[in-house]
Symmetry: C2
Subunit: 368 residues, 2 copies
């Protein structure tokens, strides 16, 4: 594993790495939030309930009837819009693959103490709503604007800081035509847990940018320094490292585990013979250009389909003739920037952006 | 904690209890499946994605167009129906609270190794479909029938046994008018992960009875001895105890944790002053008759609403004037059978039916 490791402390605080066993706090987060069972990679579009979900605080109870969005700050004309007004505005529908920035965290050693994701914190949905750029144009962004901040209705404490969840985007990102204020997911009303009545969706960025339960948007002439921007979601080597911000999703591929599982171990079993290995691949940094499948460490190029949209995942497939015995299957994607997935996790202090290749152990049984 | 404890073994097998830390296998199950975040107790009806979900094996890919249900065994006339035919048959809509039989398992010491639920493996949905009794009447059940078995399309290995998930019901239960073969959940098509295209829903029973992805139904003249009936889902004191079957849900209440959470610890913080404590209570054994709320161990009766249906949860509420300091809140329900929730977990070998009272630690802060 690459990256510098801190010396282990006796009583790790949240966010500090641990070599110890899973804690009750991590279990509590794991049962609250959920990832996408890997067999759901079969679906082009992930239904609510299978799409990954990470809610930092509680899901807020927002009354859609009385709710309204405020858009202000460095603009010519502040706006205040209710849900009806937003639904009347021009709309777009964008298929987007969203992945949690902490996906893969629990595979790191030492393990940052937070939501203990394995590899499945991902999903692809079609988000329908108003282009953010349209509302910003209506409000008239001042020339000296540098960022736009987004504040959700979800409140809590993190790192000792009372806060409503809030993040910002650089002004150029906020003005992209595909950044959407979504009130529908997969053609139906936005589910409570995905940000009802309105959420931001930023295609290509890790999920933390796509603020849920939006209550206000503010155009800023100075960079935003909220907790989720300046403290959380940074690539750091240790607690004192200012680090760099987490932004775009790194390239990743995942495979549908073939065969059938053992209930407890999730080990896989399949009969000898031909089997089609399938999965999905995505990147926030440019199109996926290549997916390779590893059979016992030998890499072979997979067939790669075109994605439904620039920031939706691509399906891939590769036929395999499984011979009896134990095998390790893996997959590895490369994107247009030339970036590829590492064979070993790259460690960082918060456990962000671990796009290590997936490995699946399978037992192939002689056909009866 | 009541109940006999087995001596600890060196290498616990799945299902065997452990005093050790959480295992990677339990984490894998915890990130795959999901419970209902407690703030979703606010909703009368739980949306997919918040409703608890336990899928033993993989979610099977069932083609609704070519799928059909076979009903046979000890009947005058076997039936074979496709989804279109089922949708044309008489239908009922039943609001049902479903809870996993293993809810509360991770609070037991030693801890049975399986899905490590805390307290939130529950949900209430409106299930729409064909009454099972209607189809059984159409087929004509033989006079010597004793049980009806249900087999799902989900396949895997558990306890070393290759199997499709299958369970049975006593014939009298199967003929209840409210047992439904559901093709809709909360008014929309049954989600993939909840059993598309058709599942059984048995009001009042723990969730394991409500077989998903139904492929066949068989009327039996002898008791069914499948793995999920004879080995799993039993109240046992040790591995050699034949035990008794898990059937009806025990009485339970849960509270919406008041205030706001700390992200990692989920500790709760709220300002001093009046706050309405709210929650839900249910039982498979008869109506909930009383809910008491404990404030620092002192029990006070809560206001209890009527449920939407005999086997749907009841809302309860109790106003509290929170004074500054640390407090422990809890809730306890009693049903028409006189059964009440225990203050300490009652241990059993598989970790079934742990309806221990919920305890929430809150910090009340002086209002600013």
């Amino acid at each position: 594993m690459a990256g510098r490791r801190p010396t282990q402390k006796l009583a790790p605080n949240p966010g500090e790495p641990s070599n110890g066993p899973l804690t009750a706090e991590e279990l509590q987060l794991a049962v609250r939030n959920h990832s996408m069972p890997l067999e759901a990679l079969r679906n082009d579009v992930t239904p609510p309930g299978l799409h990954y979900l990470l809610d930092h605080f509680d899901i807020p109870a927002v009354d859609g009837e009385s709710w309204h969005l405020r858009l202000g700050g460095a603009v010519r004309q502040s706006l205040e819009l209710n849900l009806r007004a937003l639904r009347r505005a021009p709309s777009i529908s964008v298929p987007v693959t969203l992945e949690c920035a902490g996906n893969g965290r629990s595979l790191l050693k030492p393990r940052p103490l937070s939501q203990p994701w394995m590899l499945e914190a991902v999903g692809t949905a079609v988000w329908t709503g108003v282009p953010l750029a349209y509302l910003l144009a209506r409000a008239g962004v001042d020339e000296d604007a540098v960022e736009v901040s987004f504040t959700g209705a979800d409140a809590g404490i993190q790192g000792g800081v009372h806060q409503q969840y809030a993040r910002s985007l650089p002004i150029d990102e906020a003005l992209r035509p595909d950044v959407v204020l979504a009130y529908r997911m997969n053609g139906t009303e936005l589910p409570l847990q995905h940000g009802y009545p309105l959420r931001l969706v930023v295609p290509g960025w890790y999920g933390m940018a796509s603020v849920k339960w939006l209550s206000s948007i503010k155009v800023l002439t100075k960079p935003f320094h909220g907790f989720q921007q300046s403290v959380a979601y940074r690539y750091q080597q240790d607690a004192d490292d200012a680090g760099t911000p987490v932004t775009w999703m790194k390239v990743r591929s995942l495979m549908v585990p073939p065969g059938i599982p053992d209930f407890f171990s999730r080990s896989r079993f399949l009969p000898a013979g031909p089997v089609m290995l399938t999965g999905r691949a995505w990147s926030g940094r440019g199109a996926v250009q290549r997916v390779e499948v590893g059979i016992d460490g030998k890499w072979v190029a997979a067939q790669l389909d075109h994605p439904a949209a620039p920031f939706a995942w691509s399906a891939w497939s590769m036929p395999w003739v499984a011979d009896p015995g134990h095998h390790e299957l893996s997959c590895r994607a490369t994107d247009a920037s030339g970036a590829t997935q590492p064979l070993e996790p790259v460690w960082n202090y918060q456990g962000m952006g671990n796009n290590v290749v997936q490995r699946i152990k399978v037992t192939v049984e002689k056909a009866a």
